[in-house]
């Protein structure tokens, strides 16, 4: 399928979830754009020959940097952007295929899909942790008594 269509659908899908999650106005637009970015980085990493898992890791890191930036510019918690922007990457289909294989008693597929989904989600989780750690290293040490929380 054409890459442009995929990217467009990632954008629309993220925007749709932005509406479901009650994100409004400018924040909705930029959160959805993050979904576009997520899928773009994912496809780019795959084009460089990385595995699905590494691509998921890099895309998640990119999205979280983007979310941190947007949180600063638009004065909102990072979560508002990160939850919506990671939507295209989230292995929801893999999770479904895993459980579907279980229902069909196809245990080989269950193991295969289950492992793929688990590793994919773990790669994303590792990306979240890595990006958050890097950001907190760069950020000033927060002063518990006065600093604003993000």
């Amino acid at each position: 399928m054409k890459i442009a269509v995929q990217l467009l659908m990632a954008l629309i899908g993220s925007a749709g979830f932005g509406l479901v999650f009650n994100v409004h106005g400018k924040k909705l637009a930029f959160a959805a754009l993050g979904g576009f970015l997520a899928w773009g980085v994912y496809l780019l990493a795959l084009a460089f020959g990385t595995s699905d898992y590494a691509a998921a890791f890099f895309a998640t890191v990119a999205v979280f940097f983007y979310a941190e930036l947007m949180a600063r510019l638009l004065r909102a918690p990072v979560t508002v952007f990160s939850v919506v922007s990671t939507i295209p990457l989230i292995p929801g289909a893999g999770l479904y295929r895993t459980m579907d294989a279980l229902m069909q008693k196809d245990y080989a597929a269950f193991g295969q899909q289950g492992m793929y989904t688990l590793l994919f989600a773990a790669s994303m989780a590792a990306g979240i942790v890595a990006a958050t750690a890097i950001v907190s290293l760069v950020k000033k040490k927060p002063d518990l008594k006065s600093d604003a929380i993000r």
């Binding site: 990632a10 409004h24 508002v80 979240i128």
Partner: protein, 253 residues
């Protein structure tokens, strides 16, 4: 320091109310703990111990004179509401910098609780958008996309009807999945769509707890082990129920 108020139980109430609402709006437990701790410290507590899991929050605030206040909350429901989370976060920041009176904070919380929501028709359309776009992303044709979007609309309506009954959450998901499976078969039988499974993929994306699953692993990685385990188990169970619903629907035809 003289601008700081004397710490009273009312401040703990406020902090817990804000934490509770944040958790119910889809905030991470680490964020909730952080918010409660900051509010209590800025209100004059000398030490604050907070433990939050998805189902409950417990806080003890220690005062300089040795007194302690403890409060716990049981959390039963949560749904992502980013606009509310945004406003609560903002309120929390203002409390820490300007120390408003507890009555004022309570008034603001009430205002945030009746915050803006999208009108119903937009919520319905958002389900159609998500279903349609993911159907195409998984390789569906434009006719599959239309079928998936239409079924998304019907499922949203079904969801709002059965949510009102407040039965078991897993039963709700099972009923919706069953309906989704049946409708996708009907869309193929009626000649609208070509692939029932691709049509269903768009609809499944709305209900499959992929975000919760990924976040549960993140919680486990950063050391929120209890929350991570609970969420992991919940999301796996919900995914099984969804698969069971669609599988059963496909056996019917």
């Amino acid at each position: 320091m003289d601008t700081k108020p004397e710490f009273t139980e009312e401040y703990l109430h406020c902090a817990m109310d804000i934490g509770e609402q944040m958790l119910m709006s889809g905030a991470e437990v680490s964020r909730v703990e952080d918010a409660i701790r900051r509010i209590c410290l800025s209100a004059g507590a000398s030490r604050v111990d907070v433990l939050s899991i998805t189902a409950s929050i417990i806080t003890t605030a220690h005062l300089v004179n040795g007194k302690t206040f403890t409060e716990s909350r049981r959390i039963t429901a949560s749904a992502n509401n980013m606009d509310k989370l945004d406003q609560l976060n903002d309120l929390c920041r203002r409390i820490c910098s300007t120390h408003p009176a507890p009555q004022k904070i309570q008034a603001e919380i009430r205002q945030i609780n009746d915050g803006r929501q999208y009108p119903y028709w937009i919520k319905v359309c958002s389900y159609a958008l998500v279903s349609g776009s993911f159907c195409v992303l998984f390789g569906g044709s434009w006719r599959d996309m239309i079928a998936s979007a239409l079924i998304g609309i019907l499922l949203k309506m079904l969801e709002s009807v059965i949510r009102r009954r407040q039965v078991n959450a897993m039963l709700n998901v099972l009923l919706i999945s069953l309906a989704g499976g049946v409708l996708s078969r009907l869309s193929v039988l009626s000649g609208l769509a070509g692939h029932a499974d691709l049509v269903s993929y768009g609809n499944i994306m709305l209900f499959i707890p992929g975000v919760a699953f990924t976040n549960s692993l993140r919680d486990l990685f950063i050391g929120d082990t209890i929350t991570g385990s609970i969420r992991l188990l919940e999301s796996l169970l919900q995914a099984i129920v969804i698969a069971a619903g669609f599988t059963f629907a496909h056996y019917l035809f």
